[in-house]
């Protein structure tokens, strides 16, 4: 099968039906391994056992931003190449990205309270992630506001590409401004500053969460294709009823 064959929604559905069970098993195995690694990881010398929140907070933050990057690439696919699955991919990614961004905010607050003495502070990192969450809600609302999915896709693609400016702001906010949030410690020039006994479980959890995202995204894309088929059939039924 060529990559261009995936542009056909029926072939895409057939492929996802074959891939999804394997992806679900791989996700479960990765989580079983990752959670066992996280359980036995040593406490941090400063933060104690609260470092265990990092094993869900960092993957959630990664997926919150990754989903927006994916939506931006899909937005280009919609505007430039008019790929039939690009807007399906963008629409399916939005609620999943919003959910992981919410997870990042909630787990971050619960980590911040014992470490910083506060659940929330209006610093650059926290505020830019909150803006990302609000932008996800805006995109979801926009999809629901415009009835024609093709027209909605173009409007959402423009909003998504403009909103992508927030991604580097989130990433570099801890370097550009004084923040309570710690600076980059995993992806940074000069290598990670985290000890391997904590870094390895974190990487396994990052892989597990990414597999989960891919499985959820493929399943949500499949639903979106079915939803569009239902819409087409409803229009055909209405046309038949009015004799058009």
């Amino acid at each position: 099968m060529r990559l261009t064959d995936l542009a056909n929604p029926s072939r895409f559905l057939a492929l996802t039906d074959r891939i999804l069970p394997w992806l679900a098993v791989a996700t479960l195995l990765a989580f079983a391994f990752g959670i066992s690694q996280a359980y036995f990881a040593p406490d941090d010398y400063q933060q104690g056992a609260t470092v265990k929140i990092m094993f869900i907070h960092v993957p959630a933050a990664w997926l919150g931003t990754f989903a927006w990057i994916l939506m931006s690439i899909a937005g280009l696919g919609t505007l430039v190449w008019r790929h039939p699955l690009a807007d399906v991919a963008a629409k399916a990614a939005a609620p999943i990205g919003a959910a992981f961004t919410l997870m990042c905010l909630v787990t971050g607050s619960l980590w911040g309270r014992p470490m910083w003495g506060t659940y929330w502070v209006w610093d650059a990192r926290l505020t830019s992630v909150l803006v990302l969450f609000l932008m996800y809600l805006g995109v979801i609302a926009l999809w629901r506001t415009i009835e024609d999915p093709t027209r909605a896709a173009r409007v959402v693609a423009v909003l998504t590409l403009v909103g992508a400016i927030n991604i580097p702001i989130i990433k570099f906010s801890v370097d550009w401004w004084n923040t309570l949030h710690q600076p980059a410690s995993v992806l940074r020039l000069g290598g990670s500053t985290i000890h391997p006994t904590i870094l390895v479980p974190l990487i396994v959890m990052l892989i597990a969460f990414t597999l989960l995202f891919l499985a959820l995204h493929l399943a949500a894309m499949r639903n979106e294709i079915m939803r569009r088929r239902v819409r087409t059939l409803l229009i055909m039924q209405a046309d038949a009823a009015t004799g058009l």
């Binding site: 029926s10 359980y39 406490d43 104690g48 056992a49 609260t50 265990k52 929140i53 869900i56 907070h57 959630a60 609620p95 999943i96 959910a99 992981f100 919410l102 997870m103 909630v106 787990t107 619960l110 980590w111 309270r113 014992p114 989960l212 959820l216 399943a219 949500a220 499949r222 639903n223 079915m226 939803r227 088929r229 239902v230 087409t232 059939l233 055909m236 039924q237 038949a240």
Partner: protein, 59 residues
């Protein structure tokens, strides 16, 4: 395993993460069932997309 004095924060964070993932999975599964049911109802009433009819004609 001793989670120290902040056990409540750690457990709540994990419970929140599980609840959010469970919500996502439930939304996708229920949506799929609902859409399948609607498509089957259309099929039962003989309403099909043009591409669906073309595939059947080929077979």
């Amino acid at each position: 395993m001793n989670l120290g004095p902040h056990v409540g924060f750690i457990v709540t964070a994990y419970v929140a993460a599980i609840a959010i993932v469970a919500g996502l999975v439930a939304w996708i599964v229920f949506e799929r069932r609902h859409l399948n049911r609607v498509l089957n109802e259309f099929e039962a009433h003989g309403i099909r997309r043009r591409s669906g009819r073309a595939q059947e004609d080929k077979a």
